[in-house]
Subunit: 226 residues, 2 copies
């Protein structure tokens, strides 16, 4: 089941419209492979862009942080029922080497979400959102960890951003050169790029008998395609 | 030679001040290992965050794109000698698994630059900036490519963002748990993450005898430390 979102004037791609993706399931696949977003907000006309992790369930994206953080305080400004934010997720897949300098490019998948963030302040909802965040980043880890206590819950702010106004942009495949450039004598092609996990590093203070869990040993962001 | 930048009220880290880096050479090392930034700008009060590649030379960061792109048009609004922008570069180094959910974290290095972008419109300066961009992403590639012609130069906008008001944030090392949590029976440690290049993929229309260049075969972002 797939729903195609009509772009708004703010999310319609002006350039390279052939790279545009407005399909909700395709956007979810990108969001579910990533876990780091760049969150944009505005203070006194100045934009700020801050990297932070996120989780997704259904049409909700959650971010969290210290209740004292500038980003989270700005994003939930109560006086105007949520400040406008932009959440961008980018997966980089490769360098695209064309014959001409001009046609060099990158293969990537990115999602831009515009919206207003709202504070998740109900205790149970906040706990559920933190679990979604944790499971999004590292499935299985939540149950293996010491659960949040009341002090920690209070010290943490969770914001929800609705996945309503969004667009995605995807480039795949080989370089596309101008026809006459195919005669230019150079190498052309793609250098694939991928985020990979290395061998887990044991903490120095592990209790005896605690060995690395499977979810940490075989960590990958690749998801089964449906 | 290293210069320490005094943070401004806008770049001073409010939280986790122990992770703050204001040293210019350390910031350059992060900027030189990365090549993808997230650029923030504001349109009618709405922040936009767009991924784009960049290059650096000295205290200048360059981004480029189609002269028709929304981002580049917005960022160089001539009526107010440059719109405020934010350029953020994030290198993700690992997942940090603590005993408590609360102390989970990530290892990363990020730089935030605030400033105003100015259009590079002198022809020679624009060409030099495009070369800086190209060499930043893939050293050696420029000379192996068909050079930009006048039409392509006109179709490309290059913006310069001064690296003047900036901060960086770095987290390295193992999880830090609350003292009483070290008795909690679970695995803890770090899952290292790294962006790695795969085997280059030949374009289907390569001329006979064109084999992959060394810079594409041995691609890495790791730089020699000085």
């Amino acid at each position: 089941m797939s729903e195609t979102q009509m772009p708004t004037a703010r999310t319609r791609l002006v350039r390279e419209a052939d790279r545009a993706v407005y399909d909700r399931e395709a956007v979810y696949r990108i969001l579910d492979e990533g876990f780091l977003c760049h969150a944009g907000f505005v203070v006194d006309g100045q934009p700020f862009v801050i990297p932070t992790s996120y989780g997704r369930r259904d049409a909700s994206l959650y971010i969290h942080g210290s209740a004292a953080s500038r980003m989270l305080r700005q994003m939930q400004m109560p006086m105007n029922d949520g400040a406008p934010v932009c959440i961008t997720v980018t997966l980089l897949d490769g360098l695209v080497l064309a014959r001409s300098v001009f046609n060099h490019s990158m293969n990537y998948r990115s999602v831009v979400i515009l919206g207003k963030a709202t504070l998740v302040d109900d205790r149970e909802e906040k706990l559920a959102a933190l679990r979604i965040l944790s499971e999004h980043i590292l499935p299985g880890r939540w149950d293996d960890s010491r659960q949040p206590n009341e002090r920690e819950l209070k010290a943490t702010s969770v914001l929800r951003v609705p996945i309503e106004e969004f667009s995605a942009k995807v480039r795949v495949g080989p370089p596309i050169d101008d026809e006459e450039d195919y005669a230019f004598p150079t190498w052309a092609g793609v250098v694939p790029l991928e985020m990979v996990a290395g061998k887990p590093i044991d903490d120095a203070r592990l209790l005896p008998g605690q060995s690395v869990r499977e979810y940490a040993r075989d960590y990958t962001r690749k998801r089964q395609s449906k």
